[in-house]
Symmetry: C2
Subunit: 354 residues, 2 copies
């Protein structure tokens, strides 16, 4: 059967002050909709591709209550809690042993919880295609995003020889490039790596065991605990000892024959406040508004307010955010630097703002 | 005896969103101190010049509770409430009839509640001097502020012939000038009109009766009601029918022989958010901060936050205010335009933000 594993344990410091430790990016409404959280949208979007009974969410202990609030329809035992962050290889491995215990032939689409998608039916078609290829070929399949420009903030996938079902084999996983290199990649038809991976549970666990034996051993122990009805306690005991490594670096880059299916469905990683202008419509003055805005001679600003009113007079190109106990003002073209604020707050131990 | 009448019925829309109908400018900490309100500072500053028993505040009905909170030491019957706004001639007249009823020879220093003063002892010396001249000469005395530049936002006083006690006679009260005219005024030794007027209660009431007979008649009726122990009810009945005219236009400009004493004590009318930079010290990066600020590469901003944290990244020359249910962002050099926001909110009937 087809399953989806939504990876919802991440942070998102560049989206501070809306994104906080207990209310991180994926729990916020940062897509086209100003009410539905990215996580809720991700799960809803997968409906039809997999059933609710085959939907799994892996999250962090301190985000659990937010996840439950965001996904009231999800069975509690389909929310897998990481006792501590151990990166995506461990998170996917944890989900895979749970899927395998219920469905020995289960196929998994593992997707990040915090991306926005413009064309949901195109997305569903691509994920369904990847699931079908992964099932029939027992392949690992990734979705390569058609680049819209030479972005330097993403990893790239180099497509190689034609494989089965019209999919190309991934010749190379590539780290974030500089601008000139990114331009070459885009011209050469490379894809963005969006971190969407599809595989049988059994296959990914075999690759983990081969490439990351300590992680494989830990997951084996959790699998035995699941069989013994002791999953929760075992996870708390075993998980902190697992290696913290990404699925990309730990498994994908070391595995031959991974297939890539192209995806062109308005993908956006909402990496910073400036991305809101890419996923939301602007008003007649170019302002992108979440919340209530009153503007006098103010253009091309991005506004997000969880309550109250934001008044802008004579400013343009700014990001203005009111969220909880903090207000942020930063030019759109410096939105990446918001993480510096978070670093300083962390350094100063100002927990109330983190 | 010397009395002080603090005129605390004004608004202050250019200091929105901190300044609201029920919490106007004079009730806010907009001076050098970030805790003490302008009104409380005005009253404290007058201590020693007049006793607490001789301090009066005239305010608006919907500001009464804020005034009581700001001045817990003030006797309740020294707070005179205007049932509706009728400008400064009526407000001063109302206070004068109350003073006269208690102290037939009483001398009054009438001062706005919403100005900041840098040098308080110099201020006290000037007010004491004006009171002494007003008492001994039965004169109307005003304090002329030594200009620090050719401001176009203030009225000016033209000094004339030398009068008694070394004070000059006011040759002319002048409305707000244009820039070129203001430069001439400053070069010619004119003063700013700060709205500080000193007189015997009996004298100002005589001038009101002479220049504004309908106002004089109304005040006479209130005076009779005070004698009859019926002041509050009579004021509610009579006050709405009084003419709404400023003391400057209604009395001062029509009265000969007004004396002016110069004042040079760091006067500031805190007319807009940009004025905060004139009354408060800035930090090492030129930021003027009321509240908690975290700044990354942010210079020369003015920040006021009633709670929480303001984070600025890569911006300069902005005013950023968080107050109650609103956030304001405006360049310092456009701080005057904040009143346009208030007008639009009024036009849209958005009472919750006014």
């Amino acid at each position: 059967m087809n399953h989806a594993v939504v990876l919802a344990g991440g942070g998102g410091t560049r989206l501070w002050p809306a994104s906080r430790r207990r209310m991180p990016k994926q729990l916020l409404a940062l897509g086209a909709d100003t009410v539905e959280s990215l996580l809720a949208a991700t799960c809803r979007r997968l409906e039809g591709v997999v059933g609710t009974e085959q939907l799994w969410v892996v999250t962090a202990e301190d985000q659990l209550s937010g996840v439950i609030d965001a996904l009231p329809q999800l069975e509690r035992d389909h929310i897998l809690t990481e006792p501590c962050a151990r990166n995506t290889a461990a998170a996917i491995g944890l989900a895979a042993v749970h899927v395998l215990a219920r469905d020995p032939d289960g196929v998994i689409a593992a997707v990040p919880a915090d991306h926005a998608i413009g064309d949901e039916s195109a997305y569903r078609a691509v994920v369904a295609r990847a699931l079908a290829i992964a099932a029939t070929e027992d392949a690992i399949v990734t979705v390569g995003i058609q680049p819209t420009g030479p972005e330097t903030g993403f990893g790239y996938l180099e497509p190689g020889a034609l494989g089965s079902h019209g999919a190309r084999v991934v010749a190379r996983f590539i780290e974030k490039p500089d601008r000139a290199t990114a331009e070459k990649y885009v011209a050469a038809g490379y894809f963005w790596n969006a971190g969407i991976f599809v595989f049988r549970a059994r296959r990914i666990l075999a690759e983990i065991a081969r490439n990351l034996p300590p992680l494989g051993a830990g997951l084996d122990a959790i699998a035995r605990a699941i069989a013994a009805g002791d999953a929760a306690a075992a996870t708390v005991r075993i998980y902190p000892g697992l290696p913290g490594i990404s699925i990309d670096y730990g498994v994908m880059e070391r595995t031959h024959g991974i297939l890539v299916v192209p995806g062109d469905f308005g993908w956006n990683d909402v990496g910073s406040w400036s991305a809101l202008a890419e996923v939301r419509a602007s008003d007649a003055h170019g302002n992108v508004v979440g919340g209530r805005l009153i503007a006098v001679d103010a253009r091309d600003n991005i506004v997000a307010a969880d309550e109250g009113l934001v008044a802008l007079v004579g400013v343009s190109g700014l990001v203005v955010v009111r969220a909880g106990n903090a207000v942020l003002v930063v030019p759109r073209d410096r939105a990446q630097d918001v993480r510096d604020i978070v670093k300083r707050l962390e350094g100063a131990g100002q927990e109330e703002f983190l």
